[in-house]
């Protein structure tokens, strides 16, 4: 397929794969593929040496650099929580449309990824729960607005009252409750999805 042009200089062989799955569920069985061994200019460029344990020097230096950077984390968190609040406000004003949901999801997703680095693992868990809520609904209109609100308020309060530890009594109680509610909602939606599937058959 790519014998012509730029790939022709690479070592290419053809194999017939017959064991198990290939790349996804619907592509099982025998699959004709080309195996390509690209050149590795990177290895010669960086001159990797040694074969033993990892060089922990750079890792330790990076850890120290992050520690120095951590004085900024509260400000960064505050900026990202503001984006989440803004996204929630738009949901209140305009309703949960495709656009407002996407904004809310993106803000929650970013916070989920970053909050633990900023020292707020509970916020990561609350945002993971909010993402799951937005992910699992069969219909946008069925997502309970008050559950969205509770998540966003929880995030704001965790930042405000510096609920950093996962063992914080109020913080963890609120987080667990939110997760339970979302799991219950997800379970309900899953059952509904399964029923819809059955009805279609």
């Amino acid at each position: 397929m790519f014998r012509d042009g730029k790939l022709s200089s690479y070592k290419i062989s053809t194999a017939k794969l017959s064991h198990g799955k290939f790349m996804s569920e619907n592509k099982q069985g025998d699959t004709q593929v080309e195996i390509i061994v690209p050149p590795n200019p990177l290895k010669s460029k960086v001159g990797v040496s040694g074969s033993g344990s990892l060089d922990f020097g750079p890792i330790e230096r990076a850890e120290k650099a992050l520690e120095q950077l951590s004085v900024e984390f509260d400000d960064w968190l505050s900026e990202e929580v503001d984006l989440l609040l803004l996204a929630r406000d738009r949901v209140i004003e305009e309703g949960l449309t495709a656009e407002t949901q996407a904004k809310l999801y993106l803000a929650s997703h970013d916070l989920k990824g970053q909050a633990e680095t900023y020292g707020y693992p509970l916020i990561t868990r609350v945002c993971a729960s909010l993402c799951k809520l937005l992910d699992t609904a069969t219909q946008r209109s069925l997502i309970p607005a008050e559950i969205i609100d509770h998540h966003v308020n929880a995030v704001r309060n965790m930042m405000k009252y510096k609920m950093k530890s996962t063992k914080h009594p109020q913080g963890s109680a609120v987080t667990n409750k939110l997760i339970d509610v979302v799991l219950e909602f997800a379970d309900f939606e899953d059952k509904k999805r399964a029923k819809l599937k059955l009805d279609q058959k």
Binding site: S24, V33, K43, V48, L54, D55, T117
Partner: protein, 189 residues
């Protein structure tokens, strides 16, 4: 003799694609302290694609969800040897999402490595070291062009072109899709 693995990071150029300026700042700081001095940044996939075309970075670190062109779409465009001159470039996806379906999606569009946030400096270093030291062979069929992630029945990299140098290597980076997913499932929140 068990010598420490060293990588000359100052010779590698990176592209960090993430819509969050804070994440880009964090990753840039980490890469800088690793020794890299050429770090490009893009706030979405479209900008990332321009930099890939113009600067051909050695390694790409990409977020999954971004406005405009997201990480998955960007990887799909890069893993097209007809239109992208840098189709074999190692791509590490750094994502806040670790659900199975997202990891599978990343694998299916041709990601080289998948790393979950929060960012771990050690894991990031290991992934970078791994993509340099042990680049995967690529496979190409009607549905897919990208790194081969499967093992044969004996647990070896599938295909005729197994790298002899890997035999002495203590780290296993090649894996079946199932193992790839399994590894990341442990990070599920």
């Amino acid at each position: 003799m068990d010598r420490i693995k060293k990588v000359a990071f100052d010779r590698i150029s990176f592209l960090v694609v993430d819509d969050s300026s804070h994440t880009r700042h964090l990753v840039r700081t980490i890469l800088y302290t690793f020794g890299s001095r050429t770090i490009y940044e893009a706030e979405d996939g479209a900008q990332g694609l321009e930099i890939i075309e113009s600067h051909s970075p050695d390694i790409i670190i990409v977020d999954c969800l971004m406005p405009m062109l997201d990480g998955f779409e960007l990887i799909q465009l890069v893993r097209n040897p007809v239109s992208c001159k840098n189709a074999f470039v190692p791509i590490i996806m750094l994502s806040g999402h670790s659900q199975k379906h997202r990891v599978l999606s990343a694998r299916d569009v041709g990601v080289t490595e998948f790393l979950c946030k929060p960012i771990s400096t050690k894991l990031l270093y290991e992934r970078i070291e791994s993509v340099i030291r042990k680049p995967r062979q690529f496979v190409q069929n009607d549905y897919y062009f990208g790194p081969d992630k499967r093992l044969d029945e004996n647990g070896r990299r599938y295909g005729p072109a197994q790298c002899a140098e890997e035999e002495d290597d203590e780290f296993e980076c090649v894996e079946t899709p199932e193992r790839f997913v399994q590894r990341w499932e442990t990070f599920l929140v």
